[in-house]
């Protein structure tokens, strides 16, 4: 049917007015919808907005809070919030991460190394006015030792505790079953007994219903809305001195590009990224006005690890790692064919440091650098020679053959979500391909199943290292292997070496920091020689902040370090507002003005619609 039959009447004023009415209808409907749903969204009374003139520091975050209970929380954001809201026994010096006073002013161990006595400060107050004492600390530790729910997040810290007592308000005594060098690195938030003893089930109490939350850290948590924001107010009576900003707000940006846009606009003062800004984001922000990009040495290492033959503590072997990797010469050959410099330049685009030992150089006392004779430097010719010596010769087609006479092709586990894994995987295919070894990249969303089952040959691996390296060292001990092949151990990749284990036990019982650091370096040296892990890079922490909002801020380490995710509360506690005072919350009043204008426009539209509707229905009656 042609359009002429139906006619195509001129679009007269009536037609236009109907268009206006329909658009207004849609607007009005939308507003009704908004108002209808907006009200029950927020049944709890809101905290008052920041008072005029208050300096607000807003930080963009992406990670959800898993729990606000210090007994349950394990994510970086949640534990950082606990660092800000509760004092721990000790803290880490921002310069070099050595132990400094926290709630405890000093500490000492008995000659038999089994009893630790902490002196608790007398000038720390809970935010409800009560004094923080040794009794609070003893109660916190005892709760974790006796209640499985309370041990959820930090139970490993008290696993070796025999007894914890508080003989006086300023004295805390911890008796150990065996010596433990990590007693000045107990990352456990101490909670107020008088508040927490009323909690029933610790495995379910999330501490996120009543605000403000009673604490004694540099900030007090005053408001929280899941995946929207976390608000903290400066604790003016904090013993180390009050923070310079009046308020600290963590605001959610689930998309990193949106967070960068918010920084450009000034809606947030700081963006860290997950775990770093991309090279492209960093490059674009470098030229922006009033923005400083902090390209700091990171605390992570990025490695390629081999499957050393998965096994359980009961001696049973499992998995199907390629047997050629059990030969140390093969492992060394593979790593000597990796050009780490190219990885830094091409993949990380300069935002990383070339890898050497297991612990990143920012932890200078534990950093291990292989000697010239020990170093597995880039040398493809020597790598080929090592493979020949190990008996893995090339065939006519240039492929290395395994003991079974078939060409070797390694399965490399990679994280599908990590573009670095994929990019480096391509390089490995090229470099190892030249040696005559095939590479098949198994990029998966979740690599833990084949990893736990030992059904891989090599894998991209990486860990964040704490100022106390005990944990990352422990995951390579034989004790970390699963009890049986069916169990899950705490091992990283089934390394079990007697010499390494002996050194591990020695460092854990060594209370002299310098001597302990020496043993830790020997452990790293052993790990390096074994060749089970090749640390390729230490990726930088790339983050950015607005200099018109933050005048200065403490990095960790102090010379050239990161800001987000520090050990301690140094960054946000030390941040000094810029003179302009350009608090990132200034946009709020503008927001309301614009919001009001938009709302008013829609209301006027709705009114017009109803008025015109009356006229139109009168016209239409026939």
């Amino acid at each position: 049917m042609s359009s002429q039959v139906h006619g195509r009447g001129p679009r007269g004023p009536r037609s236009r007015s109907r268009t206006v009415r329909l658009v207004a209808t849609a607007g009005a409907a939308a507003l009704v919808f908004s108002a209808g749903f907006a009200t029950p969204l927020d049944p709890a009374p809101r905290q008052a907005a920041a008072a005029d003139g208050d300096k607000v520091l807003t930080v963009a975050v992406a990670q959800s809070v898993d729990s606000l209970s210090p007994f349950l929380a394990s994510r970086l954001l949640s534990t950082s919030i606990h660092r800000l809201t509760y004092d721990y026994l000790t803290n880490y010096d921002p310069a070099d991460a050595h132990a400094v006073p926290g709630l405890a002013t000093k500490w000492e161990s008995s000659p038999d190394k089994l009893t630790w006595t902490y002196t608790i400060r007398s000038n720390s107050k809970w935010s409800d006015g009560q004094r923080a004492t040794a009794e609070d600390a003893a109660w916190t530790f005892n709760k974790m030792m006796t209640d499985e729910g309370a041990a959820t997040a930090n139970g490993s810290f008290v696993a070796n505790f025999e007894k914890v007592t508080a003989p006086s308000p300023t004295q805390l005594v911890i008796k150990l079953r065996k010596p433990q060098a990590t007693m000045t690195a107990l990352d456990v938030p101490i909670v107020p007994k008088h508040v927490w003893e009323k909690v029933g089930d610790f495995s379910e109490f999330n501490n996120d219903k009543r605000f403000p939350i009673v604490g004694n850290g540099p900030f007090v948590l005053t408001d929280y809305k899941a995946d929207s924001y976390v608000r903290l107010k400066a604790n003016k009576s904090f013993w180390r001195g009050a923070p310079k900003f009046d308020e600290l707000v963590f605001r959610y940006y689930k998309d990193q590009d949106a967070a960068v846009a918010a920084l450009r606009k000034g809606e947030v003062s700081f963006v860290a990224g997950q775990p770093a800004l991309t090279p492209a984001q960093a490059a674009s922000l470098k030229n922006a006005d009033d923005i400083k990009v902090n390209d700091a040495p990171g605390r992570r290492f990025y490695a390629i690890a081999t499957n050393p033959g998965a096994r359980a503590k009961n001696g049973q072997k499992f998995g199907d790692g390629d047997p050629s990797l059990l030969d140390q010469r093969v492992r060394h050959a593979l790593f000597m064919a990796v050009d780490r410099r190219t990885i830094i330049d091409k993949v990380f685009q300069g935002h990383a440091v070339e890898g050497q030992g297991y612990i990143p150089p920012r932890f200078s006392q534990y950093f291990f650098k292989p000697s010239a004779s020990q170093e597995l430097s880039y040398d493809p010719a020597k790598a080929a020679l090592l493979l020949d010596q190990a008996g893995y010769k090339k065939n006519g087609a240039g492929k290395r053959l395994g003991k079974d006479g078939r060409p070797i092709t390694y399965r490399v586990l990679c994280h599908a979500t990590d573009p670095n894994d994929k990019a480096i995987g391509q390089y490995l295919q090229e470099w190892w391909g030249k040696l005559g070894i095939g590479v098949r990249l198994d990029c998966l969303d979740n690599v833990s199943d084949p990893w736990l089952a030992g059904t891989y040959d090599l894998a991209f691996d990486g860990w964040s290292v704490n100022p106390d390296p005990d944990f990352v060292l422990s995951i390579h001990t034989c004790a970390a292997l699963p009890a049986t092949p069916k169990d899950t151990g705490t091992t990283d990749n089934f390394i079990c070496d007697k010499r390494y284990d002996e050194l591990y036990a020695r460092q854990l019982a060594e209370y002299d920091p310098a001597k302990r650091a020496q043993i830790v370096q020997q452990m790293e040296s052993r790990l390096y020689d074994l060749g089970y892990m090749n640390v390729m890079a230490y990726p930088n922490a790339v983050e950015a902040y607005r200099t018109d909002q933050i005048k200065s801020i403490q990095t960790m380490p102090s010379g050239a370090g990161n800001i987000y995710g520090q050990d301690g509360y140094w960054s946000w506690w030390s941040a000094v507002p810029a003179d302009s005072g350009g608090s990132s919350d200034d946009s709020t009043s503008t927001d309301v003005v614009i919001g009001t204008a938009v709302g008013a426009a829609v209301l006027v539209g709705a009114g017009l619609f109803f008025a015109m509707r009356r006229r139109a229905t009168a016209d239409d009656r026939e």
Partner: protein, 346 residues
Amino acid sequence: MSSVQKAVAPIFDEPAARNTSGSAYLRYGAGKVGGAAVSLLAVLVTGFFLFRLIPGDPVKTMTGGRPVSTEQLASYRREFGLDLPVWQQFTDYCGKALTGDLGTSYQFRAPVLDKITEALPNTLLLTGTAFVLYTVLGIFLGTRAAWRHGGLGDKLNTGLALALYSVPSFWLGLLLIIVFSVGIGPIPGLFPTGGMESGGEEGLAYLLDVAHHLILPVITLVAVEYGQTLLVTRSALLDEMGGDYLTTARAKGLRDDLVRRRHAVPNALLPTVTLVFVNLGRTVAGVILVETVFSWPGLGGLFYQALSVPDLPLVQGLFFFFAAAVIVMNTVADLVYPLLDPRVGR
């Protein structure tokens, strides 16, 4: 019903109307509701087994990166019931689900139902507002485009709808953020870059603040979604436009405008109604990409977080909830059809 409509729309005659309100309709309705109940049960069972195929050990993933003893790992497994045989986990899950208990989230240590009810209003606010707008806009523009098909307006409208429908929502969202949030050239940054609220507002200021945060994500959703409604409405109306009853209506001297609104459109609406109800069902599922780009704290983001662990109770609960919404809305659509067109359900 006016005599004009009786004459031009014989499907609305009296016997048919009686038929739909009688026992036939009840039988039809009971069949549809029964079918929906079976579907819900199937979703419950499928959800349980489907998500157990996701690779990964939830406990290991949750505790990755921090010191955990083997005893603690075993305790987690006990706590979450992961040490039980699968058949026992299944019967526990079904038994609890029937009483409305969807389990406890591994990562948030909170009842799944609480997490859903916490995020649901946020999603409904965003997708509901967009739904109203794109449905009205789609039907209105679709009707216009069909009525004047072949014309410049039709070509422009259809072309634009097709183009926007093909645009990835996250890309459009980011573009809107760059242009209207940050501001480019003479365009000032008018809207927030993300989130649902600034925080710390009360009363009317709070409502306006939320409305202000709502604008860009809603525009994004409307832009990519209205095209579908437009195209379905347009095509349905084009099919109707050959009907003799329209010629009759015109011959009686009715204005073209009235012929369209009162006669053609109501008869062409059935496919659009189907689409509207399907969209209404999808509304509760949120739009994961748009929620992510605009950092909207809704169900889409929650589902993404649940899958990344994987947080099995939360994944299963959300899967069931999303599927249930679509099933219920489809059933409602089925129940509404006979009222619109008595031939359905006879």
